[in-house]
Symmetry: C2
Subunit: 176 residues, 2 copies
């Protein structure tokens, strides 16, 4: 079992965007630079986060990305599912019905117990991811990381964020 590299990139980018001022944005190229990633590689994952309404993608000369909602309202589970998809990791192929032991379909109304047990474990995983808010990740970084990395990270955000003249979102008038 392996999570794609995109999960690490996506969480770091979302945590970075949690630090921009107000409704400012940060360009994808700056986020890629921040973590030594290729902009085209990162774009795929920024698009996934945007499609999942975790990020807003703002077009135009001062455009870029910003969080679509408060960091307190984004969990690690939201980000993992946005990048990896919502399907469970264990995908039952119903092999119990494939061999000569198979009888008619009425015998398989109850789900396979192996599938039930595997999905139960996956619910525990998802519940643990859902307990961690993006704001927790940011707060832990601010409190626990080496002060030099915190200062360097804040300076990078300060240098690359782009303030907006317009309201942040048409469905949230006046909240900027």
């Amino acid at each position: 079992m392996k999570l794609g590299d995109g999960v690490e990139a996506a969480i770091h980018c979302a945590a970075t965007l949690a630090s921009v001022d107000g409704n400012s944005t940060m360009p994808g190229a700056a986020l890629a630079e921040c973590f030594g990633l290729s902009p085209s590689y990162l774009l795929k994952h920024l698009n996934q986060l945007t499609a999942a309404r975790i990020l807003d993608s703002v077009p135009g000369p001062a455009g870029g990305y910003r969080l679509a909602r408060a960091a307190e309202q984004i969990t690690l589970l939201d980000i993992v599912l946005a990048v990896e998809g919502r399907e469970p990791a264990f995908r039952c192929g119903e092999i119990r019905q494939r061999g000569p032991v198979k009888i008619d379909a009425s015998a398989y109304v109850k789900p396979c117990g192996i599938n039930v047990a595997m999905l139960k474990a996956e619910r525990a995983y998802r519940a643990a991811l859902a307990e961690v808010k993006l704001s927790d990740i940011v707060a832990d970084f601010m409190n626990d990381a080496d002060p030099r990395t915190v200062a360097a990270s804040c300076a990078f955000v300060e240098r690359h964020q782009r303030s907006q003249r317009v309201q942040p979102s048409s469905n949230q008038p006046g909240k900027a």
Copy 2:
């Protein structure tokens, strides 16, 4: 995130082997037939289970596979790790150290908080898998599955198991 198909095959095979009599074995070809799988495909996963000491592979004309220990002493976690490997699904690439924000190595002694949170969730997943014994899976099947599939499965095992003339294992003399 996706688990390989081998996990489903491996758990079904181990559960089937939990039903053979005493120290009897079942050939890999019969296990493959039981679940409509290619014998060469299944061999890879039977080898993984054998390498992890979940199965014994018995050579010779009456050879085949059997559980290397009691079904009460095998968990779903044992099987998943045997097939998928023991590495965590989330593999931190330390991208926090890749970009221009990077400072000297002394600033990264503490692990990245994102890695810590992801691994904590994975521990919850593994703990849930470790709670389920192979014997639970078998007992649930015997108690809850359609009686026709239970009967068909038992008849298949009865037909394909191979009794042994020798002791089951050189380090367990007299336990057969």
